[in-house]
Amino acid sequence: MSLITTADTVEEWVELAHAEGLTDGLPVYPPTRAAVDALVEASGRDPSQLLGAIPPRGGAATVEVVAANAAMAGCRSEQFEVVLTAVEAMLEDRFNLRGVVTTTHPCWPLVIVSGPIVEQLEMAHTESVFSGGGAHANAAIGRAVKLLLWNAGGATPGEPVKEVFGHPGRYAFCVAESPASPWPALHQARGIDAASGITVFACESPTSVAMWGADDTPVNRLAQLSDAMAIKGCNNTHTMGETLVVLTPNEARHMAENGYDRATVQEQLWQQARRRIGDLLSPGVPPYAWWPDWVDTSDPDTLVPVTERPEDIHVMVTGAESIPWMAVCAGWGNLGGYAVSRALDG
């Protein structure tokens, strides 16, 4: 812990934080000792407990440092454990946080919160869910993660971040799964035996898929979604990896009423979301080395799936009960950002 600067007023602090490079442009709260201590105490953890070094800068993410960034985001005590758990998940090697943060690609860690804790924290899970839904928790949790990666990780545009276009979620990227889903929570489907949990996954902003021209049969609705999953230029289309699809609660119920569980949706999407090799490669461009051996690259008519396995298509239920609608959040492909799920208390 250290005294980094002084300010006599909050207004002065806001300008100082910008001048010191402690924020990405949005104003931040001052990380006062009192606010930080309150978050640490609420977590029940030792303030010096090290979660890991945040790449690429390598700043030590102790519980206290995470709390400082959470305080700057306006996090409340009951939200802090979600932030800590999400950070721990992102620091797993398979997530490749260094790559996710600095890549040219517009992806960012999405924090997906599932289970009873969604309602306990009054998280938004209906209209505008991907833009916070007006809920304090969605915004504060997503913002806390961003500020930690900015301050401890040094994730600043230009150097070392090479992101070509940017991602609106780099301000805050946290959503909650709908309690009205007919299926088990996402973290449970991924093998976490807990009522509440989080899943972190590095992905693009949602690409909207309205059901224009599609009848109400699940197979044709999913065919519509599949088309959006396999666009040229998408990292999944060219390298596989993992991807995330989003169904509204009423769409998910409609699937379930027709006998579809999550696995069936995954399998059907995996079968349909494919692209002909001949369409993906310009003449003379060799096939990609990261496609598995069972992809026949010698035949231009081979249909390549966007993931290696159906279970690499993560299916989440959230959003408004509204007209038929789905979305796809493409992943970073086979370069990293793979989903990691953890249990939460509550």
Partner: protein, 101 residues
């Protein structure tokens, strides 16, 4: 609005990596083996580092007593090379890493 008190640094102390460095031979006396670790086997766009290493190889053979080369390509450019791949460079006097694009 006025407030008083200590502010906690949100940046955290930088963690120094204490991992062992590769041994330094400290000489360029031959015969030498040089390694090339290329980030991507057949890039569809951007610099062709495989070709770059071929040019470097010629220079090394000409200017230094390089008699052997180990050339490896990472299967995924954004992830570190695996242990087996790194072990293949153990006998090298030096290794040139491919740059990311």
């Amino acid at each position: 609005m006025k407030f008083v008190g200590e502010l906690v640094d949100p940046r955290g102390q930088v963690v120094i990596n204490d991992g062992a460095l590769a041994s330094r031979r400290g000489h360029t006396q031959g015969p030498l083996t040089i390694g090339f670790l290329v980030n991507e086997y057949n890039p569809s766009s951007g610099p062709d580092f495989t070709r770059y290493t071929e040019v470097l190889e010629q220079e090394f053979r000409h200017r230094l007593d390089v008699t052997a080369v180990v050339r490896q390509h990472k299967p995924v450019l954004s992830r570190p090379a695996g242990d087996e791949m790194l072990a293949s460079f153990r006998a090298c006097a030096g290794v040139v890493n491919g740059l990311a694009k």
